[in-house]
C-alpha cells in the first residue's frame, strides 16, 4: 500500500522540496486522496472535541505596515469580484506565493513593497489556511495551476500539523479548503482524460 509521503512531520519547520518526487503510479494519487480524507475526519473530530475555542485575535498594524490578514483578505475579495484582476493584486499574490515556495513561511506584517516588517512575528496556521483559501480562489478565477500547486503544498503542511494546534473554527475552515482543493484537482483529473 502506498503511503502519501508528505504527512507525519512538520513541513513548516522542515520544508519539503518536492524535487524529482516519485508520483507516477495510480497508487500515489489514491494515497493522496486517502490522506486528505483522513485529515478531514480528524478535523471533524477536532470540531466535536473542542468547545469554546476562540478565534485568534486579528493582528493590528503599526503605521506604514499591513497585516498579512488584511493583505490576504483583500486578495480573496479581488478574486471573488467580477471583472479582471488588477495587476497590483497579481503582483501581491505572486509575491506571497514566492515567499511561501522559497521559505515556506510568512510573517504577520509587511510593508508596502511586501518586505517583512521589522519585528513581525511568524505567521500561524490561521494565516496559512487563509493563504490556501486565497490560492484556491485565484486558481478558480484564473485557471492557472501554479496557484493550485502552491495550495497543495500549503494544505500538505497544514494537514501534517497536530490536530490540537488548530482551533475548532480553523479545523472547520481547513476541511472546507480541502474540499475546494479536491474540486480544483478534479478539473485537472478530467483534463488528464479521465
Amino acid at each position: 500500500m502506498t503511503v502519501y509521503p508528505y504527512m507525519g512531520r512538520d513541513l513548516f519547520a522542515a520544508p519539503e522540496t518536492y524535487e524529482f518526487a516519485p508520483c507516477e503510479p495510480v497508487s500515489f494519487f489514491e494515497a493522496w486522496c486517502d490522506a486528505r480524507e483522513d485529515a478531514v475526519r480528524l478535523f471533524a473530530e477536532r470540531e466535536r472535541a473542542t468547545v469554546n475555542t476562540s478565534d485568534r485575535a486579528a493582528d493590528s498594524a503599526p503605521l506604514g505596515a499591513r497585516t498579512l490578514d488584511d493583505i490576504l483578505e483583500s486578495l480573496l475579495k479581488a478574486a471573488a469580484a467580477g471583472g479582471p484582476l488588477a495587476p497590483a493584486d497579481k503582483r501581491t499574490v505572486d509575491s506571497l506565493l514566492q515567499k511561501f515556495e522559497i521559505f515556506r513561511r510568512l510573517f504577520t506584517h509587511y510593508d508596502g513593497a511586501m518586505r517583512k516588517w521589522d519585528g513581525a512575528a511568524l505567521a500561524g496556521p490561521d494565516h496559512y489556511i487563509l493563504l490556501a483559501e486565497v490560492l484556491g480562489a485565484w486558481c478558480a478565477k484564473t485557471g492557472n495551476p501554479k496557484y493550485l500547486s502552491t495550495m497543495l503544498k500549503a494544505v500538505d503542511a497544514l494537514c501534517a500539523l497536530p490536530a490540537e494546534s488548530l482551533s475548532a473554527s480553523a479545523a472547520t475552515r481547513l476541511a472546507a479548503v480541502v474540499e475546494q482543493e479536491r474540486r480544483l484537482v478534479d478539473h485537472w483529473v478530467r483534463v488528464a482524460g479521465e
Partner: protein, 253 residues
C-alpha cells in the same frame, strides 16, 4: 556534414541532459571547439542501453545511450576538454577559467537552479541555455510540467542567460509531442532540449548568426510542481486504455 563551431564551447555537468546534448551534437554533426567539465560524479544508468526517440522532422529516431557519460562522448569526438575547478559557475576560479578560454559563446548545461551573477555575466561570454518550458509563458522550475499539464505537450526554449529566471532573450522555442512509455525526466526532457539546441546550433553553422524570436508577453514564473499535479501531467500524456481510472474522473462525477 560536420560543422565546426569555432567560437562555441559547452559547459557539461554530470547529468542526463549533458549526455543527451553531446550525443545529439555528435549525431547532428555539430562540433564545438571546447568542452568544460563540471566536477562531480556521474550517476550510473540501470535501464536499457539504447532508447529511440522520434523527434519532429526526424526521418529516423534519435537513439539515446543513457548510460554513456557526456565526457565519454567528448573523448570519442576528440574535442578539447578541460575540467573546471569548481561546480559553481559563479565561483571566481570558474570565471577565471572561462575567461581564459577561447569561445565567446558557451552552451550552458550546468547544474540546475543556478542563476548567473553579475561577475560571470560581465565576462562578455554569452551563455546559451535551453530552458525546460515555453517562455515567457512557462518560466521557472519544472515549468515544462505545467506546460504538459495545460497543453499536453513538452515546451522547450533556447535563450541567452541573463540575471533573471529564464528572462533572457529568446532564440527559438518549440512544443514537442510526448512519446508514451518514455520517462519525461530521464529521456524526453533531455532529448527534446538537445534537439532544440542542435537546431539552434545548426542555424548558426549555416547562417553565421543565431536565431532570435520575440514574445512580449509578461509571462509566468513557476515553482516546483506539486507531485499530485505532476502525476496528472504525466497521466495526461501517458494514459492508455488499460490504465485504471482515478478518483474524481468523469465516471465518478
Amino acid at each position: 556534414m560536420t560543422a565546426s563551431l569555432d567560437d562555441v564551447g559547452v559547459i557539461l555537468a554530470p547529468t542526463m541532459r549533458s549526455r543527451a546534448y553531446m550525443q545529439m551534437m555528435e549525431a547532428r554533426g555539430l562540433r564545438v571547439s571546447q568542452a568544460f567539465l563540471i566536477p562531480g560524479a556521474d550517476r550510473p544508468w540501470n535501464g536499457p542501453a539504447e532508447i529511440a526517440v522520434l523527434l519532429p522532422n526526424g526521418a529516423t529516431p534519435f537513439v539515446l545511450r543513457p548510460g554513456e557519460y557526456a565526457r565519454e562522448t567528448v573523448e570519442r569526438m576528440n574535442l578539447p576538454a578541460r575540467s573546471l575547478p569548481h561546480a559553481d559557475i559563479n565561483h571566481p576560479s570558474t570565471i577565471a577559467a572561462l575567461e581564459r578560454s577561447g569561445p565567446r559563446v558557451l552552451v550552458y548545461s550546468g547544474l540546475p537552479k543556478v542563476l548567473l551573477r553579475p561577475p560571470v555575466l560581465a565576462t562578455g561570454i554569452r551563455f546559451l541555455h535551453v530552458h525546460g518550458g515555453y517562455v515567457p509563458h512557462y518560466r521557472g522550475a519544472t515549468a515544462f510540467y505545467f506546460g504538459l499539464l495545460t497543453e499536453g505537450k513538452l515546451g522547450q526554449s533556447a535563450i541567452w542567460l541573463d540575471a533573471g529566471v529564464d528572462t533572457g532573450p529568446l532564440l527559438m522555442r518549440r512544443w514537442y509531442d510526448v512519446t508514451p512509455g518514455l520517462s519525461v525526466d530521464q529521456v524526453l526532457d533531455p532529448v527534446t532540449r538537445a534537439d532544440l539546441l542542435a537546431t539552434v546550433l545548426r542555424h548558426f553553422a549555416d547562417t553565421g548568426h543565431f536565431p532570435a524570436a520575440e514574445d512580449s508577453a509578461e509571462g509566468e514564473k513557476f515553482f516546483i510542481i506539486h507531485p499530485v499535479l505532476k502525476h496528472l501531467a504525466l497521466r495526461r500524456v501517458t494514459r492508455s486504455a488499460a490504465s485504471p481510472p482515478l478518483r474524481g474522473g468523469a465516471q465518478h462525477v
